[in-house]
């Protein structure tokens, strides 16, 4: 390898961009918050979800999610008695403004809120060519929007369809589990506003967290367990037809 004048000129802008971050330094982290003392997850109690869309609206407001994109969304399932293997799923505007009245022909109907599963072995972070998305030491999958190229590999890699490209910044975006809130001792915006408690933020490393009692006494499932992603969003009362 030889550094020609041409190569050096090509490298200089990259170096200038990187230098900006070096000068900016590390911002002040939340005091008293220790990365290694938490392992975040979420519990979703499907029989409690009323599909009101509060979580979707709160998420959009808290995180400036562009209209038409969703970091969390609600799906309404209609499983006909005679066609259990082909459920009808709809999510008008991500369920942000609620759902039209159901015109059902029997069968069963229910809501399933979805969001990033914050997988411990996440496929999305493995495909990122520049290290712009990663699992934090406290178990949250984040996107470094200052480092993301917008190549969309991660959008394709996520088996749950939880990622999108922000049309303003052209970088990958997804649920951050309200990282700016949970590190301050608050719950996520969606859990804060959920009127029925269908969504619960949980810290698996906190022995006092009620999640442990819940997991012991209930049969929970994750989405697409066959993908072995180590998903950490636990669903209680989930029907087998849920994809």
């Amino acid at each position: 390898m030889d550094i020609t004048r041409r190569r050096l000129l090509m490298l200089l802008p990259a170096a200038a961009v990187a230098w900006k971050y070096v000068l900016a330094g590390t911002p002040e982290a939340s005091p008293n918050y220790k990365l290694t003392e938490h392992w975040w997850s979420m519990l979703i109690d499907i029989p409690k979800c009323i599909g009101c869309g509060s979580c979707v609206r709160a998420c959009a407001e808290e995180n400036d999610v562009p209209e038409g994109n969703y970091r969390t969304w609600i799906e309404r399932y209609h499983v006909a008695d005679w066609k259990i293997e082909r459920p009808q799923v709809e999510s008008p505007d991500g369920g942000k403004y609620g759902f039209p009245p159901q015109v059902g022909d029997g069968g069963k109907n229910f809501f399933v809120p979805k969001l990033c599963n914050h997988c411990a072995d996440s496929p999305c972070t493995q495909v990122c060519p520049v290290g712009a998305t990663f699992v934090t030491p406290d178990g949250v999958v984040l996107v470094d929007k200052n480092y993301c190229l917008g190549c969309r590999y991660c959008v394709q890699a996520c088996p749950y369809g939880c990622r999108f490209i922000n049309p303003k910044t052209n970088t990958a975006e997804k649920c951050s589990l309200c990282y700016h809130r949970i590190t301050k001792g608050l719950t996520t915006a969606c859990c804060e506003v959920c009127p029925t408690g269908a969504r619960q933020l949980a810290d698996l490393k906190n022995p006092k967290d009620p999640i442990h009692e819940f997991l012991r006494t209930h049969t929970v499932q994750v989405l697409k367990p066959h993908m072995a992603t180590g998903a950490k969003v636990f669903y209680n009362g989930m029907d087998g037809s849920v994809r």
Binding site: M1, D2, I3, L11, A14, A15, A18, W19, Y21, V22, G25, T26, P27, E28, A29, S30, Y33, L35, P47, K48, C49, I50, G51, C52, G53, S54, A58, E61, E62, H78, G98, F99, P101, Q102, G104, N109, F111, G131, A132, F134, T136, P137, L142, D144, N146, Y147, Y179, H180, R181, T183, K184, L186, T187, A189, E192, V193, C194, P195, T196, G197
Partner: protein, 167 residues
């Protein structure tokens, strides 16, 4: 030592390789952010950067610090489990400085229906009504007090909180 007679061209090559290696190391040091690799194959500084984002929802604990009368009302009804900002919207700015921003007056006809409009996908135990048949277009708070929604005769008027409905 005849074979090492023309060692000069090898030295020249070694110098070129040495310069290339040094240039690579120097450039890498300059281009790769300092916190890269702190926790893994990513920029460690991205974690505090993400955490530094300001909050929009204050959290119900912040509301309850001042609006104790509403808390007392809610305790008497089923809406005790519903956080303030589920209906009133994001109010972190109001919690920080109550004079800077006031919550909007809410339209109960829209708000209540978001949760309580009948839908077959809702859990059967959840109270739901077809609003058109139930109230005939009347606003819900004509009969129900939102903080304590069960209709208790004679208690509706006194059930209003002190801060409620004030602009």
């Amino acid at each position: 030592m005849k074979s090492f007679k023309d060692i000069e061209h090898l030295l020249r090559l070694a110098v070129v390789i040495a310069i290339a290696v040094i240039a690579f190391v120097v450039l890498r040091e300059a281009v790769v952010p300092r916190s890269f690799g702190q926790y893994g194959h990513y920029r460690g500084a991205a974690i505090p950067e993400t955490a530094a984002r300001p909050i929009a929802f204050a959290g119900h604990a912040a509301c309850e610090a001042c609006h104790t009368d509403v808390v007392d009302q809610k305790k008497l009804g089923k809406h005790v489990v519903v956080a303030c900002e589920a209906c009133h919207g994001a109010l972190a700015r109001h919690a920080e400085d109550p004079t800077s921003m006031q919550p909007k007056k809410l339209d109960t006809a829209v708000l209540c229906a978001r949760c309580h409009e009948a839908n077959s996908a809702k859990p059967p135990g959840f109270p739901q009504v077809a609003t058109a048949d139930h109230s005939g277009g009347l606003a819900c708070d004509t009969c129900h007090q939102p903080h304590r929604p069960k209709i208790e005769t004679g208690k509706i008027a006194s059930g209003k909180s002190e801060t409620e409905g004030k602009k």
